[in-house]
């Protein structure tokens, strides 16, 4: 287990938990939760600089991009053009090539628009980006993304921020079996055990934001997710027993006192 690292776009990471930096009460709380989670990659959004209130705290002053890998995302983008523009700007801020692509198709359920996502993946890969792609849990689409140059497949567990946990384990397992790319469950987890389930299905990692940021005690939940991911990974590698319909005694049947 010592050398069990996750490799994304040729870069090795010890932690298989990626956390989002949104929805926290403060930057201080966000930075502390990241520490508790042990995450080495955090997602960040690209937005306009506030030119009126310059005293507003900046993420980079609390979470050092030299110590933690920033994963710029395209949250809030509904077209390929918007997503490409956002990530080209993100790259310009400081050379970020590893990015999270997310093109949404519906404002209510926040499901990804896979046509636009696929289009964007192709362009980004050609431009030299390393693209981690938020996607539906459709194995066919996952295959197409892989063929389009994606560096990681990131299917949703359930709608973003819903906390419903993994809704389609079968599809996740099918995607796992068909791809050697990093498979990371992104969106919809609600509690630590959801992360364990994802890891036990053979996923390489999980991405969590709301479940930690909006927990009653975010630091405790960050720690719980850290441990849940480790537990799930160990459990997956250890190999589970077969399932039986009936009982199978654990103690020897011989030598019982009569």
């Amino acid at each position: 287990m010592k050398n069990d690292k996750i490799v994304i776009a040729n870069k090795k990471f010890n932690s298989r938990l990626i956390v989002g930096t949104g929805k926290y009460k403060s930057m201080t709380e966000c930075a502390k939760a990241i520490k508790f989670s042990g995450a080495e990659i955090v997602t960040v959004a690209v937005r306009r600089v506030n030119i009126i209130d310059k005293k507003k705290p900046l993420l980079m002053d609390y979470v050092d991009p030299k110590k933690i890998t920033y994963l710029p995302n395209t949250a809030g983008c509904f077209t390929s053009e918007e997503a490409l523009r956002t990530l080209r700007l993100a790259r310009e801020i400081g050379g970020w090539k590893l990015v999270k692509l997310e093109v949404l198709g519906d404002k209510k359920n926040l499901f990804p628009d896979m046509i636009e996502t696929l289009k964007s993946t192709e362009v980004l890969a050609k431009e030299g980006f390393k693209v981690m792609v938020y996607c539906s849990d459709d194995p066919l689409m996952a295959k197409r993304l892989e063929n389009s140059g994606a560096d990681a497949i990131m299917p949703l567990a359930a709608p973003i921020g819903s906390g419903l946990g993994i809704q389609n384990k079968t599809n996740i397992e099918i995607i796992r079996n068909q791809t050697k790319l990093p498979l990371i469950i992104d969106a919809g987890l609600g509690q630590a055990s959801d992360a364990t389930i994802a890891m036990e299905l053979g996923c390489d990692g999980v991405l969590v934001n709301t479940a930690i940021a909006k927990a009653k005690k975010p630091y405790d939940m960050a720690l719980a997710f850290k441990n849940a991911v480790i537990a799930g990974r160990h459990s997956f590698l250890a190999g589970r027993i077969n399932k039986y319909l009936y009982g199978n005694a654990s103690s020897p049947k011989t030598g019982i006192i009569k």
Binding site: G22, R47, L59, R88, E92
Partner: protein, 62 residues
């Protein structure tokens, strides 16, 4: 600029704007009329009437 009207003096460069707004260049990306600017060259670009500028940075997000 960033969706708001801004009046600037004549012969005003992008680098003047960055300086006046006390923006740390390392933390932002600049777009002028939907074209990403090379931060090394902004002292050579003078702003014109009706230019549309976006200055972005990273904030918390999932």
């Amino acid at each position: 600029m960033n969706g708001k009207l801004k009046f600037v003096p004549e012969n005003y460069k992008i680098s003047d704007l960055v300086k006046d707004l006390k923006i740390s260049l390392k933390k932002v990306a600049i777009e002028l009329n939907q074209e990403i600017m090379d931060k090394k060259k902004i002292s050579k670009i003078t702003l014109k009437k009706d230019d549309k500028m976006e200055i972005v940075h990273f904030i918390g997000g999932g």
